[in-house]
Each structure stands twice: as C-alpha cells, then as structure tokens.
C-alpha cells in the first residue's frame, strides 16, 4: 500500500505515515486498514484528496464511538466516490451526526446534505451540522426511531419480572458508545434505536434487555473463583471475582473475550431454553447483527479465531472456511461442556485457560514469523515478551499495556461483551465485598448461597442501610434554604422571625411565629420504648398565594378535573339508599307487609312500619392528606422537568376536587421543619374549611422546606382525624419515602423508619386507616419494612401522581 501511495502522491504518503501508527495503536488493525483503504481511494481520484483524508480522518474518527468507526469509514468512502469535493465537510460533521442517527436514516440525511452541496456548499454544511432549521427538522424527522425514554418503563418492568431484582434501565453513558451492557445491577441500553424504523426497533430493545438481564438471571456475575480449578491472581480490595479472573491472565483482553464468547453462549443457551419465544426474536435480528461483525479476513489470526468462535456460537458453521473454520469447529467442541443446561458461570471460566493457551500459542507463532512486508510495519511490533504465568502483579487496567498490544479484541470494534463488571459503582462494590464475606462465613458452615441472595437478604435485614454517612453529608450540603414563596414579609414579622431563628437557620415565611407548640412522644427503637414529650409540633396555616399555581393546574388538567368530578359524583355511594320499615314512604316494604299480615291473621297488633323510603346515605369518610414538604421534594421528577413538590401539589388539587365531588370530609396538610423542637405542620385545608379557591391557593402556597420527621407529623395528623366524627377515618401520606431530620438530633435510617412504622401502627390502633404513597423512584427495600403493616404503593413515575392519586383513593374507599 505504501508503495502505491508513493506512486500516487508523496504528500499523501507523508501525511498517512505520520498518522498510521497512532491510528493502529488507538483504534486497532482493522480500522487502520480501512483508513488506509480510504486514503488510497481518495488519492486515486485526486492527489490532494488523499492527503486531506489522511490528515482529517484520524481526528474525526477518534470522535466516533468504537463500534461506529467501520460505518464512518464506509460512509466516507461513499462520499469520496460520489462527492469528493464535500469530503472535508462530511468528515467534520459526521461524528456528531452519528450520535443521533444510524443505519439508513444516517445515509439519507448525509445524502440530503450532499445534494444541497451541489447548490450551496455553505448551506450544506450548516444543514449537516443540523444548525439550520431545515437541517434540524430533517434530523428530527429521520431520528424518529424509538427513544429509550418511550420504552424504559416497560423494559424495566419486563426485566424486573425476569430477574426479580430492582433492576433499573439506564441509558448507555456517552463514553461507552451505543452498546448495551450490564454491570450486574442495572441494564444500560442505547438512548435510541432506529435500525429499522418499524416495530422491529422495539424488538431490538427487547432483545437487548433480555440479554443483559439474562446475565443477572443466569448468574454471570456470580463467578466464585473457589469453584474454578486453577491458580488465580491474589484478590484485590473491592474487586469482583470476574475482574480478578481476567487479571489472572497476562493478556487481560484476550481472556476477557474468550470468557465472553463462552459465557454468552452459555447464557444464550439457557435463555433460549427457558424462553422459546425470545429465540424467534433473536433469529429475526441475527442476520443483521452478523452483518455488523467484522470480516474474518480483515483480522489478524488470533482475532479471527476469537471472532470466528463468536460467529460459530451464533450458528455460522466453519466460519471463514478452510483452516480457520476447522480450528473454530474444534474449539467449539471443546466448549460444549459449558453449554449444557446445568452449566454455570464457573464452567465457562474453567474453559478459558485452555482456550487461552491455544490463542496464546497462535499469538507467539504470529509474532515469531517475519512480517510479510517490513515496510508496512508501523514499528514497535514483534518483540513480544512472553509472560509465562498468571500475575498478581499489576492492578486492573485497560488499554495497551504489556501483552495487550498484539491483541485488539472484540472490544476494539465495540462489539465485545456486554458484561461490564468494571462499571460497578463503589457502593455496589462495597456491598458485594460484604456479601462475599458473608458468603465465606456461610461456606465455612457448609451453607451455600449466591451473592445475589445474600445481597437481597442484607438489604431486607438491615432495613435502614440505604443512607450512608457520605450520603448524609451530601444531603446536608445540597439542602437549600426553604423557598420563600411570593408573599411579601412585613418588616415587623421579619424582625420577629429573625429572632425566632435558630443557629442561623434560614427563616420560613410560612411559619406562624405565634403558633403554639404541641408536645408529642417519639419511638426510640434502640431502647424499644417511647421517649415521652420528645417532639414539638407547631401548626401553621398557609396564606393563599397569588393563584398562579392553580391557574397552571387548571390550564393543564382542566378537562381531566371536570371528568374526575363527574366520575366521583357518580360514586357518591347509593346516594339514595332504601331505608326499610318506616311509617311512611314511597314504596311498600314487602317483608314487613307480609309480616304485618301474618301478625294480623294471628290476631296480634300489626306494626305499621310497612313502607320503605329512599334516604340520602352518608359515606361518612374523613380523610387527611399529609404531604412531605422536605427539601428532597425539590428534586426533579421524571422526564417532565417538574419537581416532585410541584407534582405533589398538582395531585393535591386533583384529589381535593375528587373528594369534594364525592362528598367526603377532608383535610390537606403538609409537614417539614428541622429538629425535634421545630416540626412544622402546615395547613392548606382544615376539615372545617369549605373547599374553595382560597384552599386551592393555599395548596399553591406549599413549597419545599427542610426536613421530614414523618412520625411526628403522622401523630399530629391523627389528632386532627380523631376530632372528626366520621365512622371511617383515613390518612393518606404522600412522601418520597425517606423520613429524615438531621436537625440537632439524628432522625434517619433505622431510627426514623422504626418511629414512622410505630406511628402508623398507633393510627391503626385508634381506628384510622393509614395509606402511604411514595414516589421514591428507587423503590428501596426498606419501604416494605416501614409501611408493610399498612397499605402502601410505590409510584415509579412521580409525574403520573396527579392521575394516580384519585384512582388510588377511589380504590381505597370503594
């Protein structure tokens, strides 16, 4: 190639040779080859073009995610052939575009840009950068595809049904390109799929979710090296056994890929066995997935072997044909024991050393052979120091160190394994480390449990493990001063409040400085007893706000509210109920009538209560809504960009309308405060207040404040409820599920949860029905412990609360 370049253009050769080594080192041999090919194509057309490509392409190529580079070069090749004059422009704009589009849509968009280029080069560039309106519009149109946000909840539920863990779906971080993966806890899926532009795009997501969830379901992350024969690297702190396993080989990437091929085949086998329906989807997509794999001829021998093995596991027999095909078939036979129905991840791992040996031998052979054309060598290659045995030497690291150089594996093409234990968060690592210790201890007693089981047990057991010390610190730092609201504070009130401040606490304009405190007990789980007279709660009536909030709610939900009112009006339970046995009424009561006839025949004095009458029936329900107004409710809820507090307030307006329509008696309260002396109980609507505009504006006035001492607020709300004469009393607590008050005394974790639980229990004893609604998107395990004795529900998308709250209420009181 060098020779041909020399013939074509000396400048191009110089530019190319300056770049090629770096390209190969950074992006691997196949990419380097394709790059060279592109430069050649360009140079054949126009001398300057070759040089331009040689210089421009590497930097831009580096901006493209690994798995997309092949596609980038392919598209550039197309541009070189069809619109050489647009090469520079496309080379520059393509990387950004590839983040947003893929497949046919990408080709189409670039095509439009090229057409435009004929007329006006400047406009075309603006178009391709999607800076012009037409470009943006076209981009929108073409990037229709399927965004993850549209399906992530469905997929999360689907994955949860599969592995029963609290799996979340998260977008693949930008630095990882587009490839889906799991680190053992969650599923990372690409932000958008537009491979087909039809229902199959969902199938792509579904298969990705199933595959990544299968690693969790079938225990890929549960490798226990004690069960794998061999000598493994000395364990490092907070390192998973998978990582330790890879580290035990001098060429980590090679070991990793070999393991991935075997383990993927095992997991896929298990998956297809368990879920025959999935097999159909995988079959549908397989040809297109295979098309994305590199050509075996483009690869160095060892890479070709690994890739061939992978393609073999996808059903391609004798991949590459000839000698390679034979070799792959042979290795495939060796792998079979790890693919049986009873095989586990340990069986996959156990096979890696022998595969590794074969690959390693091949690597050495290649290294010892004189390179076919020395001129072509970028240099620095061929002197591979053989590393004999597994080292506990280096800490885990990626990239081009030591033995890694000769093997640019699956990863280099962005097509490597979707198991990424290295992506685990430090918290998860720490949790695993603990689980491993428990596992060891159990093993000594002859007990067997998987890390997953232990983790789950630990989560439930501790109940309050969720907030670490660090998290507390982070919380305190992020805890902003309470929102001021729009009310002007008069100078005298301000002075009073300044005085009322404690320890430099910012003042709360909604606090009534003259409010009388009520002293309440609190449950201390450490002493398993109440601390009497421990908490002071003050009640503050909220001032109506300007009405802007309510207007916003009416604008957004007006139609829904009207519907809701109709629905709840219809629910006024048997508004007219038949009362039997009255002296006069609109109908005879047959039973009584007959009785009286019988009585008369028997010679007695018949009763004259023989009528029935329709009578207005009282539902006789009193309900208190109690809303957490702590600072954590200032977090953004879901994709709408609204804050939790905002959504909660919207929900309150909706439910207030519904409850008003059904005719139940209702109170609407919020709570916050700081420390046990300053629990604040805010009143938007007391039971005696009629539901009117000022109530709605008081709800509008609610804002996020400071802490939430749930137990205290629950007890205080219970007082209010017990003053109501109703026969059914109901407390609905709306919170983000984290009772927390870091005032002068500590109210968090197990203590806070125990107190909340006990407070709810007290309510039940008083005959109040508590029901808890939390919008904690993380659905922590402790919720069950805290709320389990009473009803509760976790709303996984807070932004749906305004619709769901009335439905929940309807269900609660049906």
């Amino acid at each position: 190639m060098g020779a041909e370049l020399l013939r074509l253009d000396r400048g191009t050769l110089r530019a190319w040779s300056e770049q090629i080594t770096a390209v190969e080192v950074a992006m691997g041999l196949p990419t380097a080859r394709a790059y060279t090919e592109l430069v050649l194509t360009g140079a054949r057309r126009q001398r300057r073009l070759g040089r331009q490509l040689a210089l421009d392409v590497p930097d831009n190529l580096a901006r493209v995610a690994e798995g997309e580079r092949k596609e980038y070069l392919r598209l550039m090749g197309m541009v070189v052939r069809e619109r050489p004059e647009a090469v520079g422009m496309v080379a520059r704009t393509l990387p950004r575009l590839m983040e947003r589009l893929e497949g046919p849509a990408l080709g189409k968009f670039v095509g439009s840009g090229l057409d435009m280029h004929d007329l006006d080069a400047g406009r075309a560039e603006v178009f391709l950068k999607a800076e012009s309106a037409s470009g943006q519009k076209e981009l929108e149109r073409l990037s229709l595809g399927l965004p993850l946000s549209a399906v992530s909840r469905t997929l999360a539920l689907y994955a949860r049904a599969h592995c029963g863990e609290d799996v979340q779906i998260r977008p693949v971080p930008a630095r990882q390109g587009r490839k889906a993966f799991s680190e053992g806890r969650h599923l990372y899926l690409p932000e958008r799929v537009d491979r087909y532009g039809d229902e199959r795009d969902f199938t792509v997501y579904r298969v990705l979710a199933a595959r990544t969830a299968a690693y969790i379901e079938f225990g890929s992350f549960e490798l226990d090296l004690r069960k794998v024969p061999g000598e493994w690297a000395h364990p490092a702190h907070d390192e998973s056994d998978l990582e330790r396993f890879f580290r035990s080989f001098p060429n980590k990437s090679l070991a990793r890929d070999l393991f991935a091929v075997v383990e993927d085949a095992r997991v896929e086998g298990a998956m297809l066995e368990e879920y025959p329906g999935l097999a159909r989807d995988i079959d549908t997509l397989r040809p297109d997935e295979l098309a994305l794999r590199p050509d075996l001829e483009d690869l160095a021998p060892v890479e070709a072997m690994v890739e061939g093995l992978l393609q073999r596991s996808w059903g391609v027999e004798h991949p590459g044909g000839g000698e390679l095909g034979e070799q792959v078939e042979q290795l495939w036979q060796q792998i079979q024991p790890a693919l049986g129905p009873l095989a586990s991840v340990a069986d996959s791992a156990a096979l890696v050393p022998q595969l590794y040996q074969v690959a390693d031998a091949l690597l050495r052979k290649v290294a010892d052979e004189p390179p076919p054309d020395p001129k072509e060598q970028g240099g620095g290659k061929g002197k591979r120091p053989p590393k004999p045995e597994g080292g506990s030497d280096s800490k885990p690291q990626d990239g081009a160190g030591g033995g890694e150089q000769e093997y640019k594996g699956l990863e280099a093409n962005g097509l490597g394994s979707a198991m990424r234990p290295e992506e685990m968060t430090p918290d998860d690592r720490a949790a695993d480390e603990q689980a491993r210790e428990v596992q060891d201890a159990m093993a000594e007693e002859g007990l067997d449990a998987t890390l997953r089981e232990i983790r789950r047990a630990m989560r439930q057991d501790r109940g309050g493990d969720e907030r670490s010390y660090d998290e507390m610190v982070a919380f305190l730092e992020r805890n902003p001063p309470p929102e001021g609201g729009q009310v002007e504070i008069g100078p005298e009130r301000e002075a009073i409040e300044r005085e009322a401040r404690h320890g430099g606490r910012p003042l709360d304009p909604d606090a009534d400085p003259n409010a009388k405190g009520v002293i309440q007990p609190e449950w201390d789980h450490a002493i398993q007893d109440y601390k009497p007279a421990w908490v002071q709660v003050k009640e503050h009536k909220l001032e109506p706000d300007t009405g802007a909030f309510v207007q916003g709610v009416l604008d957004e939900y007006g139609a829904e509210i009207r519907q809701l009112r109709r629905r709840f009006q219809a629910l006024r339970p048997e508004q007219l109920r038949r009362v039997r046995g009255v002296v006069d009424g609109d109908e005879f009561d047959l039973d009584r009538l007959i009785e009286s006839r019988v009585e008369r025949r028997a010679g007695g004095t018949p009763s004259d209560r023989i009528y029935s009458r329709h009578h207005r029936n009282q539902r006789d329900v009193a309900v208190a809504f109690l809303v957490d107004l702590s600072s954590s409710t200032n977090e953004v809820a879901g994709e709408t960009g609204k804050r939790i507090i905002h959504v909660e307030k919207e929900a309150l307006v909706m439910i207030a309308e519904a409850v008003d329509a059904i005719g139940d008696s209702c109170g609407i309260y919020g709570f916050s405060g700081y420390g046990r002396d300053h629990v604040a109980f805010y009143v938007a609507k007391d039971f005696k207040d009629p539901y009117d505009d000022s109530v709605r504006r008081r709800i509008g006035r609610m804002s996020h404040k400071m802490e939430n001492r749930d137990g205290a607020a629950i007890r205080y709300a219970a007082r209010k409820l017990m003053e109501q004469p109703a026969s059914t009393r109901l407390l609905v607590l709306l919170s983000d599920g984290r009772p927390l008050d870091c005032g002068c005394d500590a109210y968090y974790d197990a203590y806070a949860q125990a107190d909340t639980k006990v407070a709810l229990r007290e309510l039940r004893q008083q005959g109040i029905h508590p029901f808890c609604i939390t919008v904690d998107p993380r659905a922590r395990a402790y919720l069950k412990e805290m709320y389990g004795e009473v009803g509760f529900v976790v709303i996984d998308r807070a932004e749906t609360l305004p619709q769901r709250l009335p439905a929940i209420y309807q269900r609660l009181t049906r």
Binding site: L155, L157, A161, H162, P276, G277, R814
Partner: protein, 270 residues
C-alpha cells in the same frame, strides 16, 4: 305455620372435587370441624379457596351451602323470610338457616363484600353457644355438631370501607392461602385445563414473573384460575400467546406500560 327448607340433597356433593393440598390445610380444617370452630380462608382471588371448601365438604360428607356476599345482602337474605303462597303464609329458610338445619358447611364467599351490620347475625353462631336467634320466628336454632361456618376473604382488597371488623375476625381460625408452589400449580393447571404439560409449565413460569410486578403497581397477580382459563383455551386450539392475552394480559391492569411488559413476558414463552 309451614316452614319451607330446601332439601339437603340439593347441597350434597356427589363427585369428589379434585384438590391438591399445599400444606396442612386439610388436616387443620378437619380438626376445626371436629372442634366446632369457624374458619376464615384468607387469600387472593382464584387461588383455590372455593375448591378447597368443596373438597372438604365432600370429604366430611356434609352438604355445602354457599353464599356469594355482596353489598345488598341483608340479614333476612341469610336467615329467611315470610312468603305468601295462595292463602297460606309460609316461612322460607335462608341459606344460613338451611345450613344449620342440615348440619351443613356454610360458606360465605368474599365476606368483606357484605355490610358489617349484616354480618352481626352470625356472631352468636361463632361463640360456644352456637345458636342462631331468628327474631321473626321468635325462635332460636341450636347448631348441630356437624354445622360449620366458613368464610373467605381477600386481604388484597385494600378498601378501607370494606375491612373485616375485628369483632368479626377475632372469632375465626384463619387459614392463609396463596398461589400454589410452581410444581403444584403446574399440576393444577394441567389437570383442570387439559393443556399439555409443557404449556402448563410455561403458564406457571409466566405467572411467577408477573406476580413479581405486584410491588410495582399491579393490583393483584395472575390467579391460578386465570391460568386455567388460558390453558383451557390453549387446549382447545387457540394460539397460546393469544390465549394469555385474552385471559389475563388485558384484564390485570389498565396501565399501558405494565400491560406491555406482561405481554412481552408472555411472548418470551410462546
């Protein structure tokens, strides 16, 4: 005055209803019957409570009188009422009285649906007096030794207006029911629907997965009954995925995302 009591034969169970025990419930029930203790069966709908009672009634050789409770059920509906037949006034026994006279098992199904003031009439039957006062007849009936009161109730109901009053609940022994273990449930589905073992197995696996979603907004998991429905359709040649679709995917929830995810779980198997 003439008293009309429905015939005991009408309530006798000829064929043994097939029931696969999940634990010690058969023994406990039998003992409770011998000891004249009333029993509550607690558990989600469609998990085998009704079938269990029928099975036990047959096993103990007692007639079974069943009342499906509802909101408008009155004390008279249970006890009985006067009727006029031609010139004659007769008393017609309600199911409770009937059961008492025949020494039957009285099964009050979904008892929370009935109003609490209706349920008061059973209280005297549940203490050791075991009597049933019928004011209208001016008489009290003594329950024979064979008589047993059984009610069922679904705690997943979550309506605060329809909770079983403590004063009622505390009179009963309670047997907890839940969906059967996978292996058991598979047998039940297979036996009841006639679907092939392979498909019954898949149905049970689907159910296991779907039931995991109850903490995530699903009100109640798929019941054994619904699995049997799906199996029955499948055994009669309906496409499996379609059979699941109409038997439970559509009915379990109105939440579109949840519905879709259940649909996808079904698709994994068929």
């Amino acid at each position: 005055m003439r008293i009309i009591t429905p015939d005991a034969h009408d309530f006798e169970i000829d064929q043994a209803p097939w029931y696969l025990p999940a634990g010690d419930e058969v023994q406990l029930f039998e003992t409770a019957w011998q000891a004249k203790l009333p029993v509550i069966l607690k558990g989600p709908t469609g998990c085998g409570k009704t079938r269990f009672v029928a099975h036990m009634a047959h096993k103990l050789g007692r007639p079974l009188v069943t009342v499906a409770c509802h909101e408008d059920l009155t004390a008279s509906d249970l006890l009985g009422r006067f009727l006029i037949l031609g010139e004659e006034t007769v008393w017609c026994d309600g199911p409770l009285t009937t059961a008492l006279r025949h020494g039957a098992i009285l099964y009050l199904d979904e008892v929370v649906e009935a109003r609490n003031d209706t349920m008061v009439v059973i209280h005297p039957l549940t203490d050791d007096r075991r009597i049933l006062p019928i004011d209208k007849l001016g008489a009290s009936l003594q329950a024979p030794d064979d008589f047993m009161l059984v009610m069922s109730y679904n705690p997943g109901y979550q309506s605060v207006l329809k909770e079983l009053k403590q004063s009622t609940r505390q009179r009963f022994i309670s047997l907890e029911f839940s969906y059967p273990e996978a292996e058991l449930e598979q047998k039940v589905v297979e036996q009841e629907s006639g679907v092939a073992a392979k498909h019954a197995k898949s149905l049970v696996k689907i159910a296991e997965k779907v039931r995991r979603l109850t903490e995530r907004g699903l009100e109640e998991g798929v019941s054994t009954r619904l699995l049997i429905h799906a199996g029955t359709l499948m055994a009669r040649g309906i496409d499996p995925a379609r059979a699941c679709e109409v038997s439970f995917v559509r009915t379990l929830t109105d939440d579109a995302d949840l519905q879709r995810s259940i649909h996808e779980v079904v698709r994994d198997f068929f």
